[in-house]
Symmetry: C2
Subunit: 623 residues, 2 copies
């Protein structure tokens, strides 16, 4: 059993694949995880921006959350229709490409890719944020914890998550359940205390205000940050095909439950934050505590319930990264099949997953985590841009779809999706403007760069296809025998074998030998005896010996030059270069022999031409 | 002009070489540098071990230095004779091999190699020690300074030091001159003050004694450390050939001056240390100051003279590392020519120097410097073992030489060299025992390991020579045409060209195609049309299409298995595997194409056999 087998599992045969068919209860964790887990960082992202207002700022969380919930409701109705219209899976890339054209499709794809990378980075960093809130002594190890979790998730995904649904169910319901219980207890206590409950564990007091008046600009920023709570909502529409019959109906029901739960959680969290007067703490600093941690501690104290809730937050956030690991490779594969990304994204690895996409996602997320030192708050400004661009393009695509399809109810559907497109589009502009200097420009730039790259990749593939394509039959031309060049260091069995093979190829064989300072003319002297005469005797054309001088003691350069000259001198023939190579049996013999054969092969490949064929005659040493 | 040209200089032609012929004044810096610079760390190494005795320990430096000077005198007379007997160059390796046999020769070679590596590490670290004594704020950057100087010396040596003599002359004479002046001033002041001179700048007071009585064991340790002052003495005898006529006489004169200067410096330093009561400071700690720095400051104050002296120490110590860079590659080359080291040590690089040896030395010295954090004191216990083992073997070899040569004066010469052998041998045992646990075991182990490696290398080369050697003429056997296996992904120009070449090789051509999930049966359907029929029409044997199934979606493994099976099935024929390869023009196209051809070539080479020949038909894309 190899190391790879242990880490990644035994390879799976293509025939081992089987279709999964899921219902609503399994669909909620699988497709809702990303969306639901947003509740763990969305409110916090908004609240953090209210720190400068001090205690007075906390109340603004309620109207901001209310507007986000309205937006969420619009998006919900919009996606319901997408599910009905695309029962085969209506991801933003598909919908935008089919209805708006190639360029909007690529834009949606690029936006989603950036979004997925950020989901991984934000999910993991927010999960670790929850962990270090519960165990403050881990705070200095934030980045290491982030990278560690990333590695585990990557390995799990390379193994392939076949029973993902069941594994996801427990933590998802635990998270939703414990958060809902905390909200209910909190609401109950608030009502009993006439709106002013006493926290069980008091959260740190709000910082002193540094800004006295709230500005519209500030509220737009807070709203933009809060919009991160909406990421992941599109997941159900991507994966409609995975549901059992009636497919669209089951998917819609799942979407309804997910959005419903998300709205309840966002509303409850916002209300309790105001009731308990919880102010955000400065992220990335010692003493940092996540808002959810303070909220649950205030409502229920730091008992077992607290630790169960925070534990479920950590798990759910890490698993939300997992959603991106499922979606990113599939998206890349779809794009690669249209030649917009390297074809490698389309190969399934040993465990039937698209390993290349998984590895690329892991590397990019790791780069983000390391650049931003694993602090969620620093990543938030980059976020949401991708998600809302994809939302907008998808909804706009749906408007186009209804116009094309027409028929009864088309106008109604167009209005619903149109409203969705306008709402998400407006939000996109707000987020882009509000967060531009804070980091949204990075996302915008990345999306633009990605689209440009995809167009460039497609162009390259088209050109290569044009160059190499041919459906005409083989031309059995009167291809003359090649000019054969054999490189020889000294006379011996290795040279003999190479020459023997050369003589079967062509009557025009040239043994090339580089004269260096250390070598004698031995080869020249014995050549007639050992090579020319035997061939003449057998009636063949004897091989010529070409001695190349090397004033600078280089071995490879003179051979390369000779081969290129020979190629020029014979424009109508192929040049076959035979490189005899001594192959070591053990790696530790490697430094004992020169690697000239390997280097010559590489050099000839780089500097060669279509008419130069490389022949490698290996000699395996037993010693 | 390439980057390499700028860093390493333009390549030199072999014919550019010219013999250098030097006299005594140039010989002293070139061959004496290593020996003379030892005065900068030898006394300090001894004094450091006297720290535990406090102020009372300082006086012991005088008798210890005296015994080292006696030893040095014996070695001097011994090496004078070696020079006379080996005017062609009598390095320890040569003398020991010729007179004592292969194994003692290898032992001497290994000892010298370890010694050279330590000379580099100790020279540089002691030089930096002098620098940080003068500029204490540099102390935290000790290691970085060491590595930086090592890199510069390595590059200079890779360029080749052609006018080395002149470049070395100034700093050597500056060092010797300023140190002698300091000694003379010090002696003068001491005599004037009746043995108790007042230091211009007081050195830090000696630490409080932690040990009250001095033991013989302790003095042996001090002596062992002090013996490092004798390293480098053998250099003249190695390079006799470089002197102008009368060769041996000039070399002997040079040796006399070098040893004379060294003795004067050692004696003067020891006397002044006692007179001024200078105690060593703890090396590697803040506040560390080298003994020479304290001595010069005490004698002459911290004026311009101080900085000139310390500057010359830094330069001379760095240059002493340079001596090893000249000798180590030459020694390795001599050993490699006897097949005891990889042959690569014998190739001269672009600047006519043995680049491989230079690079290996630099890497090993860097490892030492990094492991010991650039602190001389920690390296000292490893030192001297190698030098004294080489001394002993060389002198013992000379005894054998005189016995062989016989004649008038042979007895006298034998006695001189015998005395040298006994004195250095005894010292070797003392140093080995005294320093064993402190680090001499490392050197002993390294020397033993190196000898074992050299024997192993020679055995391997002999076996390979046995396997591949042949002086018999070419057998123009009736070598049948090979079985040709062509790997094909899809029909197109690339496949066409590979097949065309295959058909010129053999009538038995098999096109191998791996069926993966994404591919259709297109190739199988069109094969008759595009490949079989045209060949039949031209009267040839049509190529067969072999479709390999791949349940695990692997591409390379099935091809490899097929090739190995084919090889087994045809034990009397060669198997030619033709691998068509798409070669990218630009590096940034690399990720866009699979690198299967490269991987297949590597796989076939590793798993292949002598009967499998690899043919690479490249296709260069223009896009």
């Amino acid at each position: 059993m190899s190391f790879l087998d242990i880490v990644l599992g035994k390879p799976l045969a293509t025939s081992d694949e089987r279709a999964e068919q899921i219902g609503t209860s399994a669909g909620i964790p699988i497709f809702g995880l990303d969306a639901l887990s947003s509740a763990a960082y969305g409110p916090e992202a908004a609240l953090t921006l209210l720190i400068p207002l001090g205690a007075a700022g906390i109340a603004y969380i309620v109207p901001v959350s209310a507007s986000i919930i309205v937006l969420l409701t619009i998006v919900y109705f919009s996606y319901r229709q997408t599910i009905a219209a695309y029962p085969g899976g209506g991801g933003s890339y598909t919908v935008a490409t089919e209805n708006l054209g190639t360029f909007p499709g690529l834009l949606a794809a690029a936006a989603l890719m950036i979004d997925y990378i950020l989901v991984v980075a934000v999910g993991i960093s927010a999960g670790v944020g929850a962990l270090v809130s519960a165990v403050p002594s881990l705070q200095p190890h934030t980045l290491a914890l982030c990278v560690g979790i990333l590695v585990i998730i990557t390995i799990v995904n390379l193994r392939g998550v076949r029973e993902a649904g069941i594994a996801f169910m427990l933590p998802t319901y635990l998270f939703v359940g414990s958060l809902l219980i905390a909200i209910v207890i909190g609401l109950f206590k608030t009502v009993l205390a006439a709106g002013h409950p006493t926290p069980v564990v008091a959260s740190p007091p709000a910082a002193l205000p540094t800004v006295t008046a709230v500005s519209l600009w500030m509220l737009l920023q807070v709203f933009s940050n809060g919009c991160t709570a909406m990421t992941g909502v599109e997941a159900v529409s991507n994966g409609v095909r995975a549901f059992r019959e009636p497919t669209a109906r089951n998917a819609q029901r799942t979407l309804t439950v997910i959005i419903g739960l998300l709205i309840v959680m966002l509303a409850g969290i916002a209300y309790l934050i105001r009731a308990y007067g919880i102010a955000a703490t400065d992220p990335g600093q010692p003493g940092y505590q996540s808002v959810l941690s303070m909220l649950v501690a205030a409502v229920a104290g730091r008992g077992w319930f607290y630790y169960v809730t925070i534990g479920s937050v950590l798990i759910i956030l890490s698993l939300s990264a997992n959603t991106a690991f499922a979606d990113f490779p599939r998206l890349c594969r779809a794009v690669a099949q249209q030649n917009f990304l390297p074809h490698a994204f389309g190969f399934r690895g040993r465990r039937l997953v698209y390993s290349y996409g998984i590895v690329v996602l892991a590397i990019l997320a790791a780069v983000l985590l390391i650049l931003f030192r694993g602090v969620t708050d620093r990543l938030i400004p980059l976020f949401a841009i991708g998600a809302f661009l994809a939302f907008t393009l998808s909804q706009a695509g749906m408007v186009g779809h209804w116009r094309r399809v027409g028929g009864r109810g088309a106008i109604h559907s167009m209005i619903v999706n149109g409203l969705g497109a306008v709402a998400t589009g407006t939000t996109l502009v707000v987020v882009l403007v509000a967060k531009f200097t804070a980091g949204a420009w990075v996302s915008a730039l990345l999306i633009a760069g990605l689209v440009a790259t995809m167009l460039w990749v497609r162009r390259h593939y088209s050109q290569v296809a044009l160059e190499t394509h041919s459906s005409s039959p083989l031309e059995v031309a009167t291809l003359g025998p090649p000019v054969v060049v054999v490189t020889i260091q000294e006379w011996g069995k290795i040279a003999q074998r190479a020459l023997q093979f050369a003589l079967t190829l062509s009557p025009d064989v040239r043994a090339v030998h580089v004269a260096t300072e250390d070598e004698t003319n031995a080869l020249q002297e014995e050549w007639k005896n050992v090579a020319e005469d035997p061939v003449k005797k057998a009636g063949g054309t004897p091989p010529k010996l070409v001695t190349l001088s090397s004033p600078y003691r280089l071995i490879l350069r003179p051979i390369l030059d000779y081969v290129l000259e020979t190629e020029k001198a014979h424009p109508d023939r192929q040049i076959a270069v035979i490189v005899p190579e001594l192959v070591e049996k053990h790696w530790y013999h490697y430094p004992l022999h020169n690697q000239r054969a390997e280097m010559l092969k590489a050099l000839l490949l780089v500097h060669g031409s279509d008419r130069i064929v490389l022949i490698n005659v290996p000699w395996y040493i037993e010693a």
